[in-house]
């Protein structure tokens, strides 16, 4: 097929591809508006750093005039009257927003199977999950259904699907990107992050979305001083890479272990030094993360009662009866589990045992990173302990699903940035290497990831794409 001669033609082709796709990467398409934006770019009426580029947006990020469901029945039909700050920034830079991508319901999951709209499939193998919770965003990018995408990462939800789908995903430092208009699941852990087919696109998208925002009091102005694309430099000479031994423990797939070590040796050949480091509290990340996330979720999701927006079915009785019925109808099983476990952990008599304890353990995990980063510049580890699993493989056992997040969670607890880059294959399934950095050291992560990408050949397209 010849190259498209205009942004409008290119966008049109993207929608044709999406409409016949088997991936189920999107919940809602933004076709009419997207094609109009593309035409406006062609006519010179719209300009910007993302002018004419197709960008998909995860469905927990609020889009004015475009249905935003969080992949939940309870928000089906909800059309927000405002834009999230990150979406306003996309529009300001001329992005062609293709639509809203599928996800685990309220971003609670590792496989995109808990969506009310059915699972998304992995473009590398349609019988496997794309990872989660931003599975639609990663599958859309890997399957050429958008050039780039926004996801959110609460416990790995950008990096996991990026690894499973063979693309690049960045979890920024907590506070780097505004969360205004992002539907909250666990507010002290989550950040919006870019997903793209290569590091330069991911850096460009980060440049657009990062920055302080008066509408989000947890955002900081750190990014306003930095241009991430300036750090696309093919050079890692003199860097020291830490290899945290706890991330290479029991349960790690041998093929993943080899691919990541090969990646570290590649960086070593390019002039980086490496040494093993220890993050001794890593093994407690899973419990600490899930307790904190569930507690925050139980509070954040209290707002969904069908009163102001969302599902409001049946006859009204008293408020408790009415809301309890609406929430029972509107939430899926995993959301109910997390809200209820959070409610339990915060209930009288259990606060100290669960929530407070988890927050203290979080301090220990954060301290581990701070200590280790005194001796190394970045750390490298497997993003996921194994390649993409099969649809349905873990849905009956929530704990086995949680365990898949073991390598991504510590980063969110510590608040540091991380980038997942493709580093090999297990058969035809992609493997991701996770690079972790110091607070606000995205520039060095981007440089390291870019150097790796320039000197390797893992940026492939799935068969048939």
């Amino acid at each position: 097929m010849p190259a498209a001669s205009s942004y409008a033609e290119s966008a049109q082709r993207t929608f044709e591809r999406i409409e016949k796709s088997k991936l189920n990467a999107f919940i809602t398409l933004n076709k009419q508006q997207a094609l109009q934006t593309a035409r406006d770019v062609d006519d010179g009426k719209v300009t910007g750093r993302l002018a004419g580029m197709t960008v998909a947006v995860k469905d927990c990020i609020t889009t004015k005039g475009l249905q935003t469901t969080c992949a939940s029945k309870i928000l089906t039909g909800y059309v927000p009257p405002f834009d999230a700050e990150v979406v306003a920034r996309l529009r300001h830079e001329g992005a062609v927003i293709t639509g809203k991508t599928n996800m685990d319901e309220f971003a609670m999951g590792t496989s995109t199977e808990s969506s009310y709209y059915g699972p998304t499939r992995n473009p590398w193998d349609l019988t496997r999950v794309p990872g989660g919770s931003s599975g639609g965003s990663a599958a859309a990018v890997a399957g050429l259904e958008s050039r780039m995408a926004l996801g959110t990462d609460t416990g790995g939800s950008v990096r996991c699907p990026a690894a499973f789908c063979g693309v690049v995903g960045i979890k920024p430092t907590y506070g780097l990107v505004s969360r205004y208009g992002v539907v909250e699941y666990a507010n002290s852990l989550e950040q919006v992050g870019p997903i793209a087919r290569n590091v330069p696109d991911a850096a460009l998208l980060l440049d657009v979305i990062a920055g302080g925002d008066p509408k989000d009091s947890t955002s900081v102005a750190e990014a306003d001083k930095v241009t991430y694309t300036d750090h696309l430099v093919d050079d890692v000479k003199g860097l020291t890479i830490g290899v945290p031994e706890e991330f290479f423990g029991e349960g790690l797939d041998k093929r993943v272990e080899k691919a990541v070590w090969d990646g570290i040796m590649t960086l070593n050949k390019l002039g980086a030094d490496y040494r093993k480091v220890s993050l001794p509290h890593t093994k407690y990340s899973l419990s600490a993360y899930y307790i904190i996330a569930m507690c925050e979720a139980s509070s954040n999701l209290a707002r969904f009662d069908g009163l102001r927006y969302g599902l409001r079915t049946g006859k009204d009785e008293n408020w408790h009866t009415t809301f309890s019925r609406i929430r029972a109808e509107g939430f899926g099983a995993e959301v109910k589990r997390r809200i209820m476990l959070g409610t339990y952990a915060l209930s009288e008599g259990y606060y100290g045992q669960y929530y407070l304890k988890a927050l203290q353990v979080r301090t220990l995990i954060k301290n581990d990173f701070e200590r280790a980063f005194k001796d190394v510049d970045v750390m490298a580890a497997p993003t996921m302990p194994a390649p993409a699993f099969r649809l349905g493989e873990k849905t009956d056992d929530p704990l086995s699903m949680y365990l898949a997040d073991v390598n991504t969670l510590p980063v969110n607890l510590a608040g540091i940035p991380s980038i997942s880059v493709p580093c090999g294959f297990a058969g035809r399934l992609p493997i991701g290497m996770q690079l972790m950095g110091k607070f606000f050291d995205e520039p060095l992560l981007i440089r390291t990831a870019y150097t790796f990408e320039c000197n390797t050949d893992f940026q492939k397209l799935p068969e048939g794409f």
């Binding site: 039909g77 909800y78 059309v79 927000p80 009257p81 405002f82 907590y174 506070g175 002290s188 009091s217 947890t218 093994k283 407690y284 899973l286 419990s287 600490a288 899930y290 139980s298 209290a302 009662d305 009163l307 102001r308 409001r312 009204d316 009785e317 408020w319 408790h320 009415t322 809301f323 309890s324 019925r325 929430r327 029972a328 939430f331 099983a333 109910k336 589990r337 809200i339 209820m340 476990l341 409610t343 339990y344 209930s347 045992q353 669960y354 304890k357 988890a358 927050l359 203290q360 353990v361 979080r362 301090t363 220990l364 954060k366 929530p398 704990l399 607890l413 510590a414 608040g415 607070f439």
Partner: protein
């Protein structure tokens, strides 16, 4: 040990009605998940401060300046039950 009765109580606190099957399933799953969380009991956290927020921001204030807000019509556009520009809720008791 979480019983089915406990699960029903938590459901009521969380405002989520549960079917009998859900109550039975959740009781089983909650026990295995909470059992896993017990590993934290073995971590020495004496004199360790909790981390509520990773970058240690304190209160962030802005000037108290009136700004444009959503028109009532837009604010109520997603509301299923409304009357005379107000949201209509179920009765309290």
């Amino acid at each position: 040990m979480i019983t089915e009765k406990d699960v029903e109580h938590i459901g009521s606190l969380a405002c989520v009605d549960l079917t009998d099957q859900e109550t039975e399933l959740f009781a089983k799953q909650f026990n295995s998940i909470l059992e896993y969380f017990k590993e934290l009991d073995g971590v020495n956290t004496e004199n360790v401060e909790p981390t509520y927020h990773v970058i240690g921001l304190t209160n962030v204030f802005r000037e108290d300046v009136a700004d444009e807000s959503l028109p009532q019509e837009a604010a109520l556009a997603n509301t299923a039950k409304k009357e005379k520009g107000f949201i209509k809720g179920p009765r309290i008791v």
